[in-house]
C-alpha cells in the first residue's frame, strides 16, 4: 500500500490549510479589505505595535491585513490560471499527439508562433481586446500558457502511444477515448503536475507585473504580487513590506509542490519516483 500520510502530504496540507484558511476567512477577519490607512503609523516595523503585528507600509496600511486579504486575488489568479492552462493544454496535447496528422501540425505550428511572441506583447494585445479585470487576467494566462502544457503532454503521448500496452488496448478494440484517458493520460501525469505547481508561483508574480502595467486589476486592491512591487523602493529601509507577502507566496508554492510530489508518487504504483 502506498503511504497516504507521508511527510510531503502532511506538510503540504498544513501549509496550504494555514494560508488558504486565513485567506478564506479574510472577509470576516478584515471586513474593510486592507484599504484603511493609518497615517500616524506609517512604516511601522513588525512586532513592535500591537495594532500592526507585521508592520505597516508607507501609507500606513497594515501588512498582515493586506497579506490576508491580498491572498484572495493571488490564489484565484495562481490556481485558476494553472488549472485552466493545464486542462486546455492537456486535452490539446493528448489529441494532437494521439491522432497526429493535419491538426497536430497545425496546432503545434500555432504553438511555436505563440511561443515566439513576447508575453507582454501578447498581454497588451489581449487586454486591449477584452479589457482588464481579474477574470480577464486568468483568461490571458490560460491563453498564454496552454502551449507549454500541450507540448509537454504531446511529447509524452508520442512515446506512450507506441507502448505495447496501448497497442494491446487497441488490439482488443478499446475505443480511443478510453485509451487516451484511461491508459495514456495517467502515464503522462508526472511531469504535468510538477510543471503546474511551479507555474502557480509564476502566475502570482505575473499578476503584479500586469497590474503594474495597468493591465490587471484595480491597483488599490491588495495582492501579493502587488505588495512585492510596492515594497521594492523600501527594500533597504523597510524590508518587512516585501518579506511577508514573499513568505506567503513561498508557503503557498511550497505547499503546492509538496502536494504535487506526493500526488505524483501516490499515482505511481512503483511507489517511488523514477525520473
Amino acid at each position: 500500500m502506498r503511504a497516504l500520510f507521508r511527510f510531503e502530504f502532511l506538510a503540504g496540507l498544513v501549509l496550504l490549510t494555514l494560508v488558504g484558511g486565513a485567506v478564506a476567512l479574510s472577509p470576516w477577519l478584515f471586513p474593510d479589505s486592507g484599504k484603511t490607512m493609518d497615517f500616524l503609523a506609517r512604516l511601522t516595523p513588525p512586532f513592535v505595535n500591537e495594532a500592526h503585528w507585521l508592520g505597516t507600509d508607507p501609507m500606513g496600511r497594515d501588512i498582515l491585513e493586506r497579506v490576508v486579504v491580498g491572498g484572495k486575488i493571488s490564489f484565484i489568479v495562481g490556481i485558476f490560471s494553472a488549472l485552466g492552462a493545464v486542462t486546455l493544454g492537456t486535452v490539446i496535447g493528448l489529441l494532437a499527439g494521439y491522432y497526429r496528422g493535419f491538426w497536430d501540425s497545425f496546432l503545434m505550428r500555432f504553438a511555436d508562433i505563440q511561443l515566439a511572441l513576447p508575453f507582454i506583447l501578447l498581454a497588451i494585445t489581449v487586454i486591449a481586446i477584452i479589457g482588464p479585470g481579474l477574470d480577464r487576467i486568468v483568461i490571458l494566462m490560460i491563453v498564454a500558457q496552454w502551449v507549454q502544457y500541450a507540448r509537454l503532454v504531446r511529447a509524452s503521448v508520442l512515446s506512450l502511444r507506441e507502448a505495447e500496452y496501448v497497442q494491446a488496448a487497441k488490439s482488443y478494440g478499446l475505443p480511443d477515448r478510453k485509451i487516451i484517458f484511461g491508459h495514456i493520460l495517467p502515464n503522462a501525469m508526472g511531469p504535468l503536475i510538477i510543471l503546474a505547481t511551479l507555474n502557480v508561483a509564476n502566475n502570482i508574480l505575473l499578476e503584479s507585473s500586469l497590474t503594474f502595467l495597468g493591465l490587471g486589476i484595480d491597483p488599490l486592491t491588495p495582492s501579493w504580487g502587488g505588495m512585492l512591487a510596492d515594497g521594492r523602493n523600501y527594500i533597504q529601509t523597510a524590508p518587512w513590506i516585501t518579506i511577508f507577502p514573499g513568505l506567503a507566496i513561498m508557503f503557498t508554492v511550497l505547499g503546492l509542490n509538496l502536494l504535487g510530489d506526493w500526488l505524483r508518487d501516490y499515482l505511481d504504483p512503483l511507489g517511488k519516483t523514477n525520473t
Binding site: A169, G173, N187, P269
Partner: protein, 619 residues
C-alpha cells in the same frame, strides 16, 4: 593438460553483494590464455555481476566485493584487481581487459562517427595519431569482417544494423589486443543469422590474437558452440564447473540438465508430424506460488493419432489473400510520400481451426506487420482478409469490433504490454468490459489466472511485482479473457529466459488442446517454431519465400534463405564446433522509391502444401 596452459585470470572465493544482499557467493575459477570460459545461468544468477567485478565497474552500480580475490596475470606481473586503485585500473581496463555488452543499440555514442570512436580508443591506449590511427581502425573493422571498412569509418551508429554495430563493438574491444575479452550476452539481441556471424567473428579473433574469453550467456546452445570450459551459476552460487564437453554430454546436476532440456534443439522433432511439448525435467522457475507445477509431466504423445488437427476440407478460420501493407515515408516540406516501406507484400495463407501457423523470418522481414494487419492495428494497402468466410476490411464497425474480440494479440515485451498503473485485475477485465463479457468479475479473473497457472491472489497486484515469465502469462490470460478463436503470438516468448520460454510454449500448447485455439506464431527462433507449429511460412523482405508443413520446411528446406536460417541455429554438440562461412550480406532495406515497386514472387508447388518462391536469389 592444464599445466601447458597459461592462466591469465584467477578468481578465488569471490563474494559480491548489493547492500546487504549477496549476489555472488564464494566463486572460484581460472581462465587460461586463448581459451573460452562460459558462465551460464538464468537472469539473476550473478553472472553479469561477476563480469562487472572483473572490470572493476561494480562500485558504479552500487555493488561491492565482500571477500575473495581476482588476480590478473600479465607477463609475469600479478595485479590484484579487487584492491587496485582507480588510476591503475584505468590502465588495465580497455587495454588488457575489454568488454562487449549486450545492447549494441546503446553501447555506441550516437553523435560520433564509428571511426572517431575507434580512433579515440587507439589514441588513448596505444598512442597512435592521425592517419596511423585511422589505418589501424580500418584494419580492425576488416578483422571483424565489416565490408568496405574504410568507408564505414565515416558512418554513424544509426546508419548501421544491430549486427554491424556489435561488430564495431568487437573491433573496439580488440583495438588494444586485450589479453582477456569479456562478452556479456553479446548476441542475445541479434537475429540468428547475425548471431552466427558474430560468434564466428569472436572465435576468429580469439584464434588470431590468442585472447582469453569469458563468455556470459543464458543460452546453452550458444555456449556449447563457444566454450572450452563452462561454469553453471544459479542465484549467486556456482553449481557446476567442468569442460564444455563433459557438461554437455554428462551434466552433473539437475539444474544443468533443466537448462539444457529447455534449449529448443533443432532437429529434435524430425520425423514427427504433430507439435510436441518440451520435456521439462523438474521445475526451475515456479509459475507462481500456486503449487500447480506444470512440468514434470512427460511430453505425452499427442492423444489424437491423426496428425492433422484440421481437415483441409473444412473452410479455413482465417484466410489472407494477397495482403499488402506499406508504411509511407513522407519527406520534403509538403510531406509528400516519395518512399514506402514494403513491410508485407502479397501475403497469402490460411489458418485452420486448432492449427498453429508459424511465421518466421528476421527483424525487418515484415512478419509482425502481417500479424498487425490481421489484428486491424494497421490498414493494408491491398488484398483481402476473410475471417470465418466474412471479409474483414469492408465489414461494418460492429463486426470489425467482434473480430477484435475473436482474434487476440500477445506482444513480445512482457515489461511493456501491461499498463504499469493498472492492477492485474483491471488489465484483465478491461477487454471483457469492452466486449460485454463480465458477469462475475472476481470469479472470472480468478479463473483466467488459474488457466495460465497463476494464483488468484495476483489479481490485486501491479505488473512491476512480477517476473517476465509471469507477466507473459498474464498477457496470455488477457488474450484468453475475450474467448478468442485465434491468438497472434508476436515473438511472445523471445524475451524470456530459455527455461521460462519452454514453460510458456508448453502452456500455449496446453491451451490449444483444451480450447481448440488457433495460433499465428510469429518468431525468429527456428527451434521453438519446430516445436510448436503445424505449418510454417518463411518470410524474407516482406514476402513469403517458402511455406509448408513443419516437416516439409525443416526436413526438406528448398529456398536458400530457409536453409540459411536453419543452419544458423546453434547446435548443442561440443564435438562439432561449426565453422560457418561468414555471409556478409545484410538483409537489404525494404524501403523503396514509390516508382520502384519490388518484384512479387511467383511460387511453384513442390509437394502437396509445400510452396517455394521461384526466385531463389537473395537480393
Amino acid at each position: 593438460m592444464t599445466s601447458l596452459l597459461t592462466p591469465i585470470l584467477d578468481v578465488r572465493n569471490l563474494t559480491l553483494a548489493f547492500g546487504k544482499m549477496p549476489v555472488v557467493n564464494d566463486l572460484s575459477f581460472t581462465v587460461n590464455q586463448g581459451e573460452t570460459l562460459a558462465i551460464v545461468g538464468e537472469s539473476g544468477s550473478g553472472k553479469s555481476m561477476t563480469s562487472l567485478a572483473i572490470m572493476g565497474l561494480l562500485p558504479h552500480i552500487g555493488g561491492r566485493v565482500d571477500s575473495g580475490s581476482i588476480e590478473f596475470k600479465d607477463e609475469g606481473k600479478i595485479h590484484e584487481l579487487t584492491s587496485l586503485s582507480d588510476d591503475d585500473f584505468r590502465r588495465i581496463r580497455g587495454n588488457d581487459i575489454a568488454m562487449i555488452f549486450q545492447e549494441p543499440m546503446t553501447s555506441l555514442n550516437p553523435v560520433f562517427s564509428i571511426g572517431s570512436q575507434i580512433t579515440e580508443a587507439l589514441e588513448l591506449h596505444r598512442g597512435l595519431k592521425g592517419a596511423e590511427a585511422e589505418n589501424e581502425a580500418a584494419r580492425l573493422l576488416d578483422l571483424v569482417r565489416l565490408p568496405n571498412a574504410k568507408a564505414q569509418l565515416k558512418r554513424y551508429p544509426h546508419q548501421l544494423s544491430g549486427g554491424m554495430r556489435q561488430r564495431v563493438m568487437i573491433a573496439m574491444a580488440a583495438s588494444c589486443n586485450p589479453k582477456l575479452l569479456i562478452a556479456d550476452e553479446p548476441t542475445t539481441a541479434l537475429d540468428v543469422t547475425i548471431q552466427a556471424q558474430v560468434l564466428q567473428i569472436i572465435r576468429d579473433m580469439q584464434s588470431e590474437l590468442n585472447t582469453a574469453v569469458i563468455f556470459i550467456s543464458h543460452d546453452m546452445g550458444v555456449v556449447a558452440e563457444m566454450a572450452d570450459d563452462i561454469i553453471v551459476m544459479k542465484r549467486g552460487d556456482m553449481i557446476e564447473s567442468n569442460s564444455a564437453q563433459e557438461i554437455i554430454l554428462r551434466p552433473g546436476t539437475d539444474y544443468t540438465r533443466q537448462l539444457m532440456a529447455a534449449v529448443p534443439k533443432i532437429g529434435a522433432m524430425t520425423g514427427k508430424s504433430a507439435p510436441e511439448k518440451f520435456d521439462l525435467i523438474g521445475q526451475s522457475e515456479q509459475a507462481g506460488s500456486s503449487g500447480k507445477p506444470e512440468t514434470a509431466q512427460q511430453a505425452e504423445p499427442t492423444s489424437k493419432p491423426d496428425n492433422k488437427p484440421f481437415d483441409n476440407d473444412d473452410s479455413p478460420l482465417v484466410s489472407l489473400k494477397k495482403v499488402t501493407t506499406h508504411y509511407p515515408i513522407r519527406s520534403g516540406f509538403w510531406g509528400k510520400v516519395r518512399h514506402r516501406v514494403h513491410a508485407a507484400e502479397s501475403i497469402s495463407f490460411d489458418i485452420y481451426a486448432g492449427e498453429t501457423v508459424a511465421l518466421v523470418g528476421e527483424s525487418g522481414s515484415g512478419k509482425s506487420t502481417v500479424g498487425k494487419t490481421l489484428q486491424q492495428l494497421v490498414t493494408p494497402a491491398g488484398g483481402e482478409i476473410l475471417f470465418r468466410g466474412q471479409e474483414m476490411l469492408s465489414a461494418p464497425p460492429e463486426v470489425r469490433d467482434r473480430f477484435k474480440r475473436e482474434i487476440q494479440y500477445v506482444f513480445q515485451d512482457p515489461y511493456g504490454s501491461l499498463n504499469p498503473r493498472k492492477t492485474i485485475k483491471a488489465s484483465l477485465l478491461e477487454p471483457m468490459y469492452h466486449h460485454g463479457l463480465v458477469s462475475d468479475p472476481a470469479r472470472q479473473v480468478a479463473e483466467l489466472l488459474e488457466s495460465v497457472q497463476l494464483p488468484a491472489e495476483f489479481a490485486s497486484r501491479y505488473p512491476h511485482e512480477f517476473s517476465g515469465g509471469q507477466r507473459q502469462r498474464i498477457c496470455i490470460a488477457r488474450a484468453l479473457a475475450c474467448k478468442p478463436q485465434l491468438i497472434i503470438a508476436d515473438e511472445a516468448v523471445s524475451a524470456l529466459d530459455v527455461s521460462v520460454q519452454a514453460q510458456v510454449v508448453n502452456l500455449l500448447m496446453d491451451l490449444q488442446k483444451e480450447r481448440g485455439l488457433s495460433y499465428l506464431f510469429i518468431s525468429h527462433d527456428m527451434a521453438v517454431v519446430e516445436r510448436i507449429s503445424h505449418r510454417v511460412a518463411v518470410m524474407y523482405l516482406g514476402q513469403i519465400v517458402e511455406m509448408g508443413t513443419r516437416q516439409q520446411i525443416f526436413e526438406n528446406p528448398q529456398h536458400p534463405y530457409t536453409q540459411r536460417l536453419l543452419s544458423a541455429v546453434p547446435m548443442m554438440d561440443p564435438l562439432r564446433k561449426p565453422q560457418r562461412p561468414i555471409l556478409d550480406v545484410e538483409i537489404p532495406s525494404p524501403i523503396r522509391a514509390i516508382e520502384n515497386p519490388p518484384l512479387i514472387h511467383t511460387y511453384r508447388e513442390i509437394n502437396i502444401g509445400h510452396i517455394v518462391a521461384e526466385n531463389l536469389v537473395l537480393f
